[in-house]
């Protein structure tokens, strides 16, 4: 006992010190641990599995036959379709994000005005967002159906087309329709983001501008747009990722067909899955790298532009 007590006494200050500093050092850890674990399990682990699979030879029956080295990547880059799929992906992403941002700027401005029934109009805007994207895509597929589609009938009755057409069977007409649907489902989120941004712009600034004799157009260009920048950037980044990865719109409407003529890289990856899982995983890895790269480049460029200090 007596031998023990000095040691215990000696240890006490140390322990007290450590308990004193623990909230400081370990403080946030228990709080963020669940989130970190979740990220490990649902983000990092699948990424690891995806990369690992891209280096494997897997038979069509699902049997792992061993390592493939870089073969699957070679096979992927040898695909005759890959070139036009990559081009389609870029055009698709730029077209959808561009149109969405442009239309949303207008819509947000509109919804920021005071008009009777604004509340209901704002609610109605949520509808395309609230509906499942796949459901919307399948809905449009049937509306565009050659024999039974309402849109086809309506267009024919209005005299806009000669007769019912198989819009989605031909890539040259399928692409515009898919862009239309993709923009349609992206509008609500983007508009709300911009609307939230608009509402943070203080009214005094506009008042001051008016006193200084600025025209409404000048006020929009010089005040609204610069102050909207953070909301606009958030909208662009999230839309870029969403549209690049957009699967349900294309899969629901054309399944990337005929062949891979209406496929983006994400859809192409899914098509490859039926013939070669390893190659499909390689496509996923490339896709993943592309999306990370795209976002990094975009953030870099936009921050560099936005340096106002």
């Amino acid at each position: 006992m007596s031998l023990n007590s000095p040691a215990r006494k000696a240890s006490r200050p140390g322990r007290r010190a450590s308990t004193g500093s623990r909230p400081g050092r370990l403080g946030p850890l228990p709080w963020i641990a669940p989130a970190v674990l979740l990220i490990l399990c649902v983000v990092l682990w699948p990424v690891y599995e995806m990369v690992r699979t891209s280096f494997l030879r897997i038979s069509t029956s699902g049997f792992v036959r061993g390592s493939a080295g870089l073969d699957k990547y070679r096979k992927l880059f040898g695909e005759a379709d890959l070139g036009h799929v990559l081009i389609s992906t870029v055009v698709w992403t730029l077209a959808v994000v561009g149109l969405t941002m442009l239309l949303s700027l207008g819509l947000a401005q509109l919804f920021n005005q005071r008009f009777p029934g604004r509340r209901f109009a704002r609610w109605a805007l949520i509808a395309p967002w609230a509906a499942s994207v796949l459901m919307t895509a399948i809905g449009f597929r049937w509306m565009l159906n050659q024999t039974a589609g309402v849109l086809n009938t309506a267009l024919t009755d209005l005299g806009l087309v000669d007769g019912p057409r198989d819009w989605l069977g031909d890539p040259s007409t399928a692409w515009p329709w898919m862009v239309f649907v993709a923009v349609f489902v992206s509008l609500p989120f983007t508009t709300y983001t911009l609307l939230a941004g608009l509402q943070t712009v203080p009214g005094e600034v506009y008042e001051a501008a008016r006193v200084d004799g600025a025209s409404p157009w000048q006020a929009y260009l010089r005040i609204t747009l610069p102050l909207l920048r953070p909301a606009f950037l958030v909208g662009v980044v999230i839309n870029l990722i969403n549209v690049f990865n957009s699967f349900p719109v294309i899969w629901g409407m054309t399944q990337g067909g005929p062949g891979s003529a209406t496929a983006t890289t994400t859809v192409f990856m899914y098509q490859l899955k039926t013939t070669d899982i390893g190659e499909s995983a390689a496509m996923s890895v490339v896709n993943f790298a592309l999306v990370v790269l795209m976002v990094l480049v975009f953030l870099k460029v936009s921050r560099w532009n936005g340096e106002e200090r």
């Binding site: 228990p30 709080w31 641990a33 669940p34 674990l37 979740l38 490990l40 399990c41 682990w45 030879r57 038979s59 069509t60 029956s61 699902g62 049997f63 792992v64 036959r65 096979k75 005759a80 050659q146 024999t147 057409r165 198989d166 989605l168 069977g169 031909d170 054309t254 399944q255 067909g257 005929p258 062949g259 891979s260 003529a261 098509q271 039926t274 013939t275 070669d276």
Partner: protein
């Protein structure tokens, strides 16, 4: 404070447990419960041929399993019926995780032979059962001369035509050659507006079937006499050139056959909106439901009707992994008895694969509408099912062979042949 910390750490621990649990999963009861006392549980995975709960194949298999266990008390059968959309993925997952079934009934078998997962048919079937199979089907189950695939049900293709539409167009008998197909289609287009004269479904659902039927008509096909792939053979390229020039370009079929699926074509025919198409027995019921007066004829070829039509079969196979050879043998002999196969074929209006059942169904007189098909069965031509690369090649065909009727046939088929060669090289 203390309470909160404790609650939080409990939550973390629980979360971590849940997360690790999601990683582990499955793989546990993979030995199929071959416990002491000689009692063995066979795991049976089968596809669902029913389209609703009331006629699910589960009822049929449960009945077979119960009767089998009653006759063989030591062997239980664990029945798992999976719908067609999911069965491939689920079986893949089972194989990957080592939790393989003992008996599997699904659409294809050869890819499993490539990985040496299956018993030979002679190991798991008695000589009597094997002798009962219709010869062409038993042969279609062979890989390099050894039978692994056990045929389960079958179907064959024939030309269906809408009698009312033909009458309206003034056509007295169904076409026997390609030229007659084109002429009849032109008549239908002129005299029966709103009807697709010939429904050509080359969409991803079953492009490999429709394209093979046309290729057979020109003496071609996906494989040559030596069994190697000949996807871009001159006969096949000519077939697609003919289709493009005579049916697609003049607008005698769908505007975009490459994106039109078989189910669309069948639905159109059942709605009276298609003049003719290649169909199989399940179209009989659809046409009756749609009150379409249909006729069935041999499939037209370039100069004469096809001698051997396309036959399709679904397969049963037995996996080696769990080592239940003797029990599987007993079960399969039981499941392939005439009573059982007859009951299944009659439930779903499918075609038999055994001679005894074929004889019974032909003789009973209850299946008159199937009779044209019974005659076709013994000389059916099959996909190269015994080729272990066929599944991968077939998937490529489904995806892009349809573009051959709008693009350049030689190029599309050439690309496909290149992919098939790659698949053979990597098998």
């Amino acid at each position: 404070m203390n309470k909160r910390v404790r609650a939080l750490s409990t939550m973390c621990a629980a979360g971590a447990l849940a997360l690790t649990a999601c990683g582990g999963g499955s793989g546990s009861d993979s030995d199929g419960g071959s416990a002491a006392g000689g009692s063995v549980t066979l795991k049976l995975v089968a596809a669902d041929y029913g389209e609703k709960e009331s006629n699910s194949s589960k009822t049929y298999w449960n009945g077979v399993a119960t009767a089998f266990t009653a006759a063989n008390p030591g062997i239980k059968v664990d029945v798992q019926v999976v719908n067609w959309n999911d069965i491939d993925t689920q079986v893949k997952t089972m194989i990957q995780s080592g939790n393989v079934p003992d008996v599997l009934q699904t659409g294809g078998y050869a890819d499993k032979v490539a990985d040496d997962l299956l018993y030979k048919a002679e190991d798991v079937l008695s000589a009597d059962t094997r002798a009962d199979f219709i010869q062409t089907f038993a042969q279609a189950g062979q890989v390099n001369g050894v039978q692994y695939g056990i045929p389960f049900v079958s179907s064959a293709r024939a030309l269906f035509y809408n009698k009312a539409v033909f009458q309206q167009a003034g056509i007295t008998q169904p076409p026997a050659t390609w030229d007659e197909v084109r002429k009849d289609a032109e008549l239908i287009k002129a005299k029966a507006p709103g009807v697709t004269p010939y429904a050509l479904p080359l969409g991803p659902e079953e492009a490999q079937g429709e394209s093979m039927i046309w290729e057979l008509g020109n003496g071609g096909g996906p494989t040559g006499k030596d069994g190697g792939y000949t996807l871009d053979s001159p006969a096949n390229v000519d077939t697609f050139r003919w289709l493009k020039a005579n049916l697609v370009d003049p607008g005698l079929t769908y505007a975009n056959p490459a994106t039109t699926d078989r189910k669309t074509a069948f639905a159109d025919f059942a709605a009276g909106k298609a003049g003719m198409l290649n169909g199989h027995p399940s179209l009989i019921q659809m046409a009756k439901d749609g009150k379409v007066d249909y006729g069935v004829a041999p499939i037209p070829g370039k100069s004469a009707p096809l001698a051997a039509t396309l036959g399709v079969a679904d397969w049963t196979m037995a996996f080696k992994k769990n080592g239940h050879r003797d029990q599987i043998r007993k079960f399969l002999d039981f499941a392939y008895s005439k009573e059982n196969t007859l009951a299944f074929d009659e439930t779903y209006n499918l075609m038999p694969v055994t001679q005894s059942t074929l004889h019974e169904m032909t003789a009973s007189g209850k299946h008159q509408d199937l009779e044209p098909f019974f005659a076709l069965l013994p000389q059916a031509a099959f996909y190269p099912l015994g080729d272990t690369t066929w599944d991968a090649v077939s998937a490529e065909l489904k995806k892009s062979i349809g573009t051959a009727v709008t693009g350049d046939p030689a190029k599309v088929l050439g690309d496909l042949q290149k992919k098939a060669k790659d698949a053979v090289a990597n098998k």
